[in-house]
Amino acid sequence: MKWIQRLGLDAVLLPLVGVFMCLIVWSGISGKSVTTKTKDDWGDVVTTTKRTGISADLPGPMETWEKSRSYILNPLAKRGELDQGILRFTWLSLTLVVQGYLIALVVGTPLGFCLGLSKTFGKMFDPIFQILRPVSPLAWLPLGMVLFLSAKIQVPGFGAYTASELAAVFTIAICSMWPTVLNTAVGVRAIPQDYLNVAKVLKLSPAKTLVKVLIPATLPYMFTGFRLSLGIAWLVIVAAEMLTGRPGVGGFLWQQYNALSYSHIILCILTIGVVGYALDRLMSFIESRLRAA
């Protein structure tokens, strides 16, 4: 075991062992198709396929792979609106997420600054934020639909937005905004008095104080907020796509559930997990870069 550690292989091997153990449990509880051939009373051969196992309808790892192969190996294929390669679906979902997320940042960061800087603003709006914060995306989406019911917005370069798309973007934005708002506010409140004294003694204008002192001092907190927000934005996309039936990872998942094609649900879950993890890594990479700079 010593030499494994010395070569640094344990960083690769141990996760693999973990994955392998999970696969064993998975195949243990999943069902298998058993095909039996019997002769009926007339002597004809009748084949019957039955699923057996602890959870009979849950496809096992190998079955999932067999059924999902075409989606993974042809990730950019487009056979129909709701039958595309997995990367295409991911891309569709990501574009929506990015739009909602950017709106959340643009709206949330200034809100956070106001909340942190002004006690009056804080007292006025903090209760509202606290009440809106725990509302589930599933609850926001219908409201978004109502809001944009008759809206059809043309954005040059992006094409037309339908009501359901606008509702999805709205839901993502409003759900993923809160970590940014609250973390920014905490960051602003945590700015040491020393820095503010420097700004006061040098009589920096409010704009310059913001750019030179407040924003750099709050940046680490802001980024924590941004990172949490991105996580939530990605979480919300599935719910949004399920309800709107829009093509994307979440929409595909729901459609395949309705089509009784259970392997693809697992494929979607794994894809969502991997993409979410990648996004989180990306944010933490940007964060470390900014901190080093």
Binding site: D194, Y195, N197, V198, K200, V201, L202, K203, L204, K208, K212, V213, P216, A217, L219
Partner: protein, 324 residues
């Protein structure tokens, strides 16, 4: 002369002539907190400082030294009385004063040059870019930090950070330099070095300086006049003690100088007297050990039970009364 007119007036029996000092504190009171829980920090402060003078204010920690500095810097307003500089009532920070704070107060995301430039850009708006850069370089050079121009504060030692802070203050070319315990966070050797450096710069620049400190030696080494602050609460200023040690003063000479010793005794005597009889309440958190020992007089039960060492996770507040 603007005040000859006043002279004539006073000869006629009007208000007595009062040639105003450069910096004046006039019956200044300052306290904090709401009425029901008020702590009066400073009471009835009077101070006159002439242009070009180096005054050291010395007092115990907690006697409101930093509050006094904030009043002079314009970060705080007095409750009663007036702070006047050059005859005008101070109603906010201004470029005629520069402050060196106790804990450096450098912005950690800016380099040394940028920290100084932040002040320079703000004060000398009509300078060209090159002039400003030159100006920054000059003052960074004055505190001997030219090699560290592009370093961030986190890469510097405490003494170097404080020098940057001094450079930032000097670069605004203020009339008055306010030094708020600038050296108290440093180790003894760095402290001595920086004292010499401040001494040199102040002699070169000929500014009006107010130094706040808790070190009598430092005060006497640097200042023309030492003013003790009585122990708080309701701290006030004592009679000023002139330092008649001739300049240039060096640390070596000063230790054997009889005037230095006498002045030092005077200062310390005042400080000790002012604090005698005052009770200082210190409230501090005492963290108790986190384990309760097992009670051995109780027979240990077979399964479970309570007779085992337990965690307490308790913090106890205790008020200690110190009478000096």
């Amino acid at each position: 002369m603007p005040w000859t007119g006043l002279c004539r007036l006073s000869n006629l029996g009007y208000a007595p002539l009062n040639i105003m000092a450069f910096i004046e504190l006039d019956h200044v009171d300052k306290g904090f907190g709401p009425v029901w829980n008020r702590s009066e920090v400073l009471s009835d402060l009077n101070l006159q400082v002439e242009r070009g003078e180096f005054v050291a204010l010395i007092g115990y920690s907690g006697s409101g030294k930093t509050t006094l500095m904030s009043l002079l810097a314009g970060l705080l307003r007095p409750d009663r009385g007036e702070v006047r500089i050059g005859g005008k009532v101070v109603d906010g920070p201004g470029y005629d004063r520069a402050v060196v704070f106790q804990n450096y107060s450098l912005l950690p995301w800016l380099t040394v040059a940028e920290n100084v430039a932040l002040a320079v850009d703000e004060v000398f708006r009509d300078f060209s870019r090159e002039q400003r850069q030159e100006h920054v370089a000059k003052y960074v050079g004055m505190v001997n930090l030219t090699p560290a121009m592009d370093k961030r504060p986190s890469e510097l030692s405490g003494g170097m950070r404080q020098r940057v802070s001094v450079a930032r203050a000097l670069a605004t070319q203020p009339d008055i330099l306010l030094l708020d315990e600038p050296l108290s966070a440093l180790d003894a050797l760095t402290r001595a070095n920086l004292q010499d450096e401040i001494n040199r710069i102040c002699q070169e620049e000929k500014k009006t300086v107010i130094l706040i400190t808790n070190d009598p030696d430092e005060a006497i080494l640097l200042a023309d006049r030492v003013i003790p602050i009585s122990a708080g609460p309701k701290a006030t200023l004592g009679a000023s003690i002139p330092v008649n040690v001739p300049r240039p003063r060096t640390r070596k000479d000063i230790n054997s100088c009889p005037i230095f010793k006498r002045t030092r005794n005077q200062v310390i005597q005042y400080l000790v007297q002012s604090s005698s009889g005052k009770k200082v309440e210190i409230s501090k958190k005492l963290t108790m050990p986190d384990l309760l020992p097992e009670d051995l007089s109780v027979a240990r039960p077979m399964f479970g039970g309570k007779a085992r060492p337990r965690r307490r996770s308790e913090q106890k507040r205790e008020t200690v009364e110190v009478v000096s």
